[in-house]
């Protein structure tokens, strides 16, 4: 089945039995864990046993048949079914109520502009940033506050982990197999943020990207590790953004000069200054678009003189357009901190936003 299917528990839809995946039997939990580790089916952490009942509960919650086609990985032609995503979600520790978010994240990753194969195979070593918006955040207990970019709550951690296990077990995105990352980063274990839509007048990320302020939605981005910054010494939005811009420009000098989707995470203490001054997310995007630019010649100052060539005076922008910037409200109540999350490799992979319960390719 490929048609749109609304997520959410109903008493009228019963997912069929699970006829597809092979069943494995173990004498005890230790043997099970060791087998999964030995096969390379985990991320190094213990897993929750994907029993038939647990997997069926996920499918039942989302009202998805086991053989529902989530999508096809464009490069290798792998058909990704709901049953396999559910198995890996259970392993990651997801509750059934988390499963629709995982399905939506996988749906988004399979969209061709995300370039899933390239992003997950690259030596660049990016992870998949998952940003969740809408009412489902509260339904599943996601937190947008303390430690928002790290392990802030059960749902965020398990959803992010499920994405990684799906990649590993369904597409062999494991170190040394498809995943050729030179270094990688800790976000590759789990990298999931719920946006704070309540303590801000700003429109949510999803509302701005898909135009619906009420729907739950998931945005995925092929992302490098977060670069944290601090500026507690001004109340001027432009000066605060100068610190974010400086971090972006540092990334352009040290990592990649190419324009693409950058994400910035702005916590309440800094957001208060934007609110007071009447700055919208669009104002933030426009400012960063105008100011986050470097000359290629700046590479000479960071040891990359040989790559400057004859383009030393050529100016490169971090964003191809203001809308490339994902502005995310999240973080604990105190602290003038912020984070810049750079793209994997310019516009090679595009951030994708998909409403929960939607199919983008059917």
């Amino acid at each position: 089945m490929t048609g749109p299917m609304p997520f959410g528990r109903t008493d009228h839809v019963v997912a069929p039995s699970l006829p597809h995946s092979n069943r494995l039997s173990f004498d005890d939990g230790v043997a099970l864990q060791e087998h999964f580790h030995a096969q390379g089916w985990t991320d190094g952490l213990p897993i929750v046993p994907p029993t038939t009942d647990a997997v069926a509960a996920c499918l039942d919650w989302a009202a998805l048949p086991a053989d529902h086609l989530i999508g096809v990985e464009p490069v290798r032609g792998r058909a990704i079914t709901a049953e396999k995503v559910a198995i890996n979600s259970v392993m990651a520790g997801c509750l059934p109520s988390h499963f629709p978010v995982v399905v939506t994240a996988v749906t988004a990753m399979l969209a061709e502009p995300f370039l899933l194969h390239g992003a997950t195979a690259s030596t660049g070593g990016c992870g998949v940033l998952v940003v969740v918006n809408g009412p489902i955040r509260h339904e599943i207990g996601m937190s947008s506050g303390f430690n928002a970019v790290g392990p802030s709550d059960r749902a965020s951690t398990c959803i992010g982990r499920a994405v990684r296990l799906v990649l590993g077990n369904l597409l062999e995105v494991r170190p040394g197999e498809i995943d050729r990352s030179t270094l990688g980063h800790p976000g590759k274990i789990s990298f999931c943020i719920a946006e704070d839509e309540e303590q801000t007048p700003w429109a949510s990320l999803a509302a701005e990207r898909i135009g619906d302020p009420y729907v739950s939605a998931v945005t995925v981005m092929a992302a490098m590790g977060p670069r944290q910054l601090m500026n507690e010494w001004t109340t001027e939005p432009a000066e605060i953004l100068d610190t974010f811009v400086a971090e972006i420009k540092a990334n352009m000098r040290h990592y990649s000069i190419w324009a693409g989707n950058y994400a910035v995470v702005i916590p309440p203490q800094l957001r208060a200054h934007f609110d007071t001054a009447g700055w919208s997310k669009a104002d933030v995007r426009e400012y960063v678009f105008e100011h986050a630019r470097i000359r290629r010649g700046e590479w000479a100052g960071v040891g990359k003189r040989s790559a400057v060539g004859e383009k030393g005076e050529h100016t490169y922008a971090a964003l191809t357009e203001p809308d490339d910037l994902l502005v995310i409200a999240a973080g604990g109540p105190a602290g003038g901190f912020g984070a810049v999350i750079p793209p994997w490799l310019g516009t090679t992979s595009r951030a994708i936003t998909v409403p929960v319960g939607a199919c983008i390719d059917c």
Binding site: N22, R23, S25, P50, K84, L345
Partner: protein
């Protein structure tokens, strides 16, 4: 107590790969070289093309570069490749 769980991996067994037919002698053949476009491929494939020409009388060495080094070659390159007798693809960083 026995625990029964479901296999989390992709079910379809990897297909068998069959090596492309060998062309034998290269004299008179058109050889394509598909680069992923990274800087390191340039000197490598330059040297490789020189060796092809030095060791045999190839009719032509065609050099193409993928527009996106992280994505598969597009239809345009694959269409071009149909007129080649052999193709060498490689990556470089």
């Amino acid at each position: 107590m026995t625990i029964e769980v479901l296999n989390p991996t992709y079910d379809e067994a990897a297909g068998d790969f069959t090596a492309a037919a060998r062309v034998g002698e290269l004299d008179g053949l058109t050889i394509g070289i598909v680069s992923n476009g990274k800087h390191g491929t340039v000197p490598f494939f330059d040297a490789f093309a020189d060796e092809l020409r030095r060791r045999s009388r190839v009719a032509e060495v065609v050099r193409v570069i993928k527009p996106n080094y992280s994505a598969p070659a597009g239809d345009e390159i694959l269409d071009d490749a149909r007129r080649w007798h052999a193709l060498v693809a490689g990556i470089g960083d």
